[in-house]
Symmetry: C2
Subunit: 424 residues, 2 copies
C-alpha cells in the first residue's frame, strides 16, 4: 500500500488528518495550545523527530511547565495588594491535587521572607516545659503525610444575592488540595507537657499581619499538623514557608501561615480575627463565633462559567466535592436545575477532609439547561440550596452572611452552548 | 515577669534562644538555610512582622519555591548532553510524591518542544478502525488518576561490583513518584476495536530518538494509561508533554514519552531498544528479553551517603520502598549489616506499583554501623542481597548485569558520624 514505512508515517502524521474525532472548544479559561502573548517561544518543529531536542540541563535544575501551559492564579482586584487574594484555576486542574504553584492565596499583610535557619516555633503557656523548636527540631520528629483541602471561608462571598462573578476560578477558586507533610501537634505537646486545664491554643503567624486564631485543644490534639511539606517538598512562601498550621477541615484563616508561636490557655483569646472578623450573623441577629468547620460543598468545573460547548453531543461533566467534617459520601448531579438528581461517579476513594473529583457522563441535546452538583458527606449532611442557607442564616442585606457560602452552584447552558453563572 | 507582652515576645524570639532542642547537621546534600551562591536574595528581616511582606502578584501567576530551597536534579556527566539523565534528590523529598520539577530524566535525543494543538496519537495496525486522536479527543474521554513510580532499569547500574557513587541521589535517583492522570488504553482500544489475534503494541515517541518498545497486549489492557496529567496539571516536557505512556510497574524506558503512535500487532516488533539494549545477560550466557517488571526494591534516604550525623542520639531512619509487581507488603531495617532485621513503619497504606515511605526510630550509640533496608512485596518476593542477585544473573565483568539492580543498599556510619556507600 505504501512504498516505504516512512511514507505511511508521513500520511498518518500529516496535519489535519483527524480521522473520526471531534474537538472541544474549551473557551477562554483554558489556554492550551495558545502561547502567551509576547512570550519568547521555542520554535516548534513540524516533525519533532527531525530535530535534536533540548539537552538535559547541565545542573539538572528544577523543571518548569511547557510554554503552552499558561493557567495562572488570578488576583482579586483589591485596593491594597498586601491584603488580597488569588484564585486557583480549578477548571484547568486534572486529577485531585493542586499544583503547588497554583495554590490559592489569602494574605492580610503580604508574604514575608523567612530564613528557616533563623526561624523557630515557640510552644508555651499552660505547659510544663516551654520550648522553642528550630526547623531541624521539627523535622527530626516523627512526621505524617496527609492529603487535605484548604478553603477560605470567604470563598464565593460575592455570590449570596446575585450571580456576580463569571468563572469557576472566580466563584470557587479559594480552594486547593495538597499532600501536607509535618509533625502532629500532639507530638509537640508530648515534648512540652500540657497542663490539666488547658483547653485552647493561640496560633500566631510571623507575617506583618501577625494573624492569630484560638483553636480548641480537642482539635489540636485530634489531627492538627505543623506542616513543612507541600506535595513532596518545602511548602511555598505563599502557603506559609517554612511552617504553617494545618487544621484538616477548618476554615482557611485558622491554618495560620508562617507559624511562630503556639500559646496554650484555658480560654479562647478572642482575637480580632475571631470577633471583628470571621463570625456569622444569624437569622435572629446574633452572631455565631468559631464557625470553624467548612461545610460539605461541591462545584462543577466543566462545563463552567464563560466556557462554550461546541454543540449537542456527549460530554463528561466533572468537578470537585469536599467536606470539612469527614469524607464525601456521595455526589449527585442535576441537569434540570435541581428537579431530578442522579449519582455521579467518584473518581477516587474519598479521604477525610479532602476533595474528591466526580464525573458524570452527559449527553446534551442542545436545549437550554441548568447544571448542578450536590455533595453529601459521611455525617449525612447534604449541601443546601442558596434559599435553604439564607433561611437559616438570615438575609442581612447586600453581603448576606458573607462567610461559609456552601450552597449548590448552578451553571446555565444556553442553546448556543454558552455557559454562565446563574441563580436557579 | 515582663513589663509588656512585646518584651516577652522579644525574649522568646531572640536569635539563639533554643531551649532544650538540638540541631541536626544535614550535610551537603540538604541546602536548607543556605542561599544559593550568587543568587539574588530578598533581604531577610530579623523580625518579619515589622515589615510589609511581598504583595500578591498582580497576575496571581504561578508560584515558585522559597529562595532557601535549592535541591535540584543533578545531571550525570555524559559526553553527549542529549543522551543523558538527571537524578532526583531523594533525600530532600518529604512525604511520598516527587515535585514535578524534580522528576528524574532519561533522554536519548533531547527534549522535544511539542505544540499540543498540533499533536496527535495514531492508533492503528490490527484494529477495526484506525484513528488519530487529538489532545482534545483524549481529554474528553473518561480519565483515571493514579499514583505510580517510574524507575529507570539502569538505576544504580554503576554499583554492581564496587561502591562507586556517593549520594543516594546518585545511586538511586532514577526513581520518581507522581499522580498521573490520563485515559486508559483500554478506553482507546474500545474506540478502534482490536482484531482477535492482536497480542503486542508498538509504542513510538515523537522525540529525535523516536524511542520504540513493544508492549504485551495483556499489560496494555490491564492498566496502561495514556497520561497527560502529572500532579494536577499537564505533564512536564521532561516527562513527555503532552502525552506519555504509563505502564505501572514496568521498566522506565517502556513508558514512551512524547507518545505519537501505537501500532497493534500479533508479534513483538523487536526494536533496537529491546534487543541491542535493555536485555539482561544471565549466568548461563543467554540474554533475557522483555524484563519488563521492576522488582521490589528499597533504599534508606536518611541517613545516606555523604551525610554526617552530629553524634550519638535518636534519629528516624527513613526511605522509600516500591515494587513493580504490586503493593509493598513490608519493609525491614537492619543496623548491623543484615544480621538482624526489624520491621519498619510504613508511613501510608501501600498502593499498587507505588512507592511507600518507611520510618524506623533508631538510637545510635556512636559505634560504627551498617544500615540496610529490605522490601517484601505482596507476591512474597524479598529484595535480595547483591550476592544473591549476582549468583542468579551471573558475573559478567565490570558491568555485571547492568540493568535491574534492585539489591539491598548498605550505608556505613563511621564513629565520627560520616555516612558512606559501602558493600557489606
Amino acid at each position: 500500500m505504501y512504498a516505504t514505512r516512512n511514507e505511511r508515517r508521513r500520511f498518518l502524521f500529516a496535519s489535519g488528518s483527524t480521522i473520526g474525532a471531534a474537538a472541544i472548544a474549551a473557551g477562554g479559561a483554558r489556554a492550551e495550545g495558545k502561547a502567551p502573548a509576547g512570550a519568547q517561544l521555542f520554535d516548534v518543529p513540524d516533525d519533532p523527530t527531525k530535530e535534536q531536542g533540548r539537552p538535559v540541563a547541565a545542573d539538572g535544575g528544577y523543571g518548569t511547565r511547557s510554554q503552552f501551559e499558561t493557567a495562572v492564579r488570578v488576583r482579586y482586584p483589591t485596593p491594597n495588594e498586601n491584603t488580597s487574594w488569588s484564585l486557583t484555576p480549578l477548571a484547568d486542574l486534572v486529577g485531585n491535587i493542586t499544583p503547588s504553584g497554583l495554590h490559592f492565596e489569602r494574605h492580610h499583610g503580604g508574604i514575608p521572607t523567612i530564613d528557616p535557619a533563623r526561624h523557630g516555633l515557640v510552644l508555651h503557656g499552660m505547659v510544663d516545659t516551654p520550648k522553642r523548636f528550630s526547623m531541624d527540631d521539627i523535622k527530626r520528629l516523627p512526621s505524617v503525610t496527609r492529603k487535605h483541602f484548604i478553603e477560605c471561608s470567604g470563598n464565593g462571598l460575592t455570590e449570596w444575592k446575585k450571580p456576580t462573578l463569571k468563572t469557576v476560578q472566580q466563584t470557587h477558586g479559594l480552594l486547593s488540595t495538597s499532600e501536607w507533610t509535618g509533625v502532629l501537634f500532639s507530638t509537640l505537646a508530648r515534648e512540652v507537657g500540657l497542663k490539666p486545664d488547658s483547653a485552647w491554643v493561640l496560633a500566631e503567624g510571623a507575617d506583618a499581619a501577625v494573624m492569630t486564631r484560638s483553636i480548641p485543644m480537642e482539635k489540636m490534639l485530634k489531627d492538627a499538623i505543623i506542616a513543612y511539606g507541600q506535595n513532596g517538598e518545602a511548602i511555598r512562601p505563599e502557603q506559609g514557608y517554612p511552617i504553617r498550621l494545618l487544621l484538616p477541615g477548618y476554615e482557611g484563616n485558622t491554618h495560620i501561615k508562617w507559624l511562630r508561636r503556639l500559646e496554650v490557655s484555658d480560654k479562647p483569646f478572642m482575637t480580632r480575627e475571631e470577633t471583628s472578623k470571621y463570625t456569622d450573623l444569624m437569622a435572629d441577629g446574633r452572631a455565631r463565633l468559631f464557625t470553624l468547620d467548612m461545610d460539605a460543598k461541591s462545584v462543577i468545573t466543566f462545563p463552567s462559567g464563560d466556557m462554550r460547548l461546541p454543540g449537542p453531543g456527549s460530554y463528561t461533566i466533572t468537578g470537585f466535592a469536599w467536606s470539612g467534617r469527614g469524607r464525601v459520601q456521595s455526589v449527585d448531579v442535576s441537569t434540570d436545575a435541581g428537579r431530578t438528581w442522579y449519582p455521579a461517579r467518584l473518581d477516587s476513594t474519598p479521604e477525610p477532609m479532602c476533595t474528591v473529583r466526580f464525573s458524570f457522563p452527559w449527553r446534551w441535546d442542545g436545549s437550554p439547561v441548568v447544571l448542578q452538583s450536590r455533595c453529601t458527606d459521611e455525617t449525612g449532611y447534604v449541601q443546601p440550596t442558596r434559599a435553604e442557607l439564607i433561611a437559616i442564616r438570615g438575609d442581612h442585606g447586600p453581603a448576606a452572611s458573607v462567610y461559609h457560602l456552601n450552597a449548590i452552584q448552578s451553571w446555565g447552558v444556553s442553546q448556543s452552548g454558552g455557559v454562565s453563572n446563574v441563580h436557579a
